[in-house]
């Protein structure tokens, strides 16, 4: 049902930018999301990390909002769920920090470090990167939503 609405708005020529922009944006959004997740997950091996990857994911959603219409992006990830993801990322980071308190001190790297240069290594660092990535991506997308739609919503009493 929700997918049908998205398909319908996506193929509607009256909203959003032109067909050329939409066709390119479809490919670009997928690549940007993939690159953002790569930057987050490999943050302990290659340059990048949670913040940079999170901003890339936020830019992918912003491109979706600019190329298609505001409705498509809000159907994919609404402002409610953006703020929920923001809170969940922050909560996950703090919970990881407090688990370390049980093993020694705050933010203790309690997981086995593993072999260097492997994907699963470095203990809590990849987990923290994922938490920060979700948090920053959702937060910056929420800021863009806030700047974009909040001035246009009016309550029924005011209308």
């Amino acid at each position: 049902m929700k997918q049908d609405i998205i398909e319908e708005i996506t193929h509607d020529r009256s909203t959003g930018m032109t067909l050329i922009v939409k066709t390119v944006a479809k490919i670009m959004i997928a690549m940007m999301l993939l690159f953002g997740f790569y930057i987050i997950i490999y943050g302990h091996l290659t340059p990048g990390g949670g913040f940079a990857g999170g901003v890339i994911i936020a830019i992918a959603y912003v491109l979706m909002m600019l190329a298609f219409s505001r409705k498509v992006a809000l159907k994919k990830l609404s402002n409610f769920w953006a703020s929920i993801f923001d809170n969940l990322g922050m909560l996950a980071f703090i919970v990881i920090a407090y688990i370390g308190l049980g093993f020694g001190y705050f933010m203790y790297n309690f997981i086995w470090h593993g072999n260097p240069f492997h994907l699963i290594s470095a203990g809590i660092i990849p987990l923290c990167n994922i938490a920060i990535g979700i948090k920053v991506g959702a937060a910056l997308y929420a800021i863009f939503i806030g700047l974009s739609i909040y001035g246009r919503i009016t309550t029924k009493e005011e209308e």
């Binding site: 930057i39 340059p47 990390g49 790297n109 809590i124 923290c128 806030g146 700047l147």
Partner: protein, 187 residues
């Protein structure tokens, strides 16, 4: 260091254009050019993590600024010439440059840090944390508390933005205000 100087001069020229131009959109474009110059400098100083972050944040802020700038009228601010203000500004710029020259003669040379703890991070970072990226090892293991503080700062700022930007208030328009906030009017 020739490339470094060229990028620095390019950034200074871009800043002057951004301040002095009358068109809002070209000012935003000039600011973007300065931002990408900053990321090139970071890349030149071998800090790819910060360079990636700078490029991406610059892109996002440029999108927001351009969307704002295309909706705002181009109003050139009428400027009157004030000799006293100009003279004061020149004197303080001169003092600033003089103190800069005096301060930068004593600055420690590049890549020779005063703090010995950074050498420990470089030597033992891979063994103690297991992270191949030394920047991730520092910001999420040795200095994780700082990163937590930064995350809290972003979280709080976004909370504030959400509170200010919402137009759907909790109070109905017909209700009376019982608390007076803001600038109080004098009689």
């Amino acid at each position: 260091m020739l490339l470094f100087d060229i990028i620095l001069i390019f950034m200074i020229i871009g800043t002057i254009i951004a301040v002095e131009t009358k068109n809002m959109l070209s000012a935003v474009v000039a600011v973007g050019a300065v931002g990408f110059g900053v990321s090139l400098l970071f890349l030149y100083l071998r800090a790819p993590d910060i360079a990636i972050t700078q490029v991406i944040v610059e892109v996002l802020s440029l999108i927001i600024l351009i969307r704002v700038a295309t909706h705002v009228d181009n109003v050139a601010i009428e400027r009157r010439i004030d000799n006293f203000a100009n003279m004061t500004g020149l004197i303080f710029i001169g003092l600033f440059i003089a103190f800069c020259i005096w301060a930068f003669t004593d600055v420690i040379p590049f890549a020779n840090p005063l703090m010995r703890v950074s050498q420990h991070y470089l030597d033992a970072g891979l063994r103690e944390t297991g992270a191949a990226n030394i920047v991730a090892a520092v910001i999420l293991d040795y200095r994780a508390y700082d990163t937590l503080g930064e995350a809290v700062v972003i979280f709080t700022s976004i909370l504030g933005a959400f509170v200010i930007l919402r137009s759907k208030g909790k109070k109905k328009l017909s209700e009376e205000d019982d608390i007076t906030v803001g600038i109080l009017e004098d009689a």
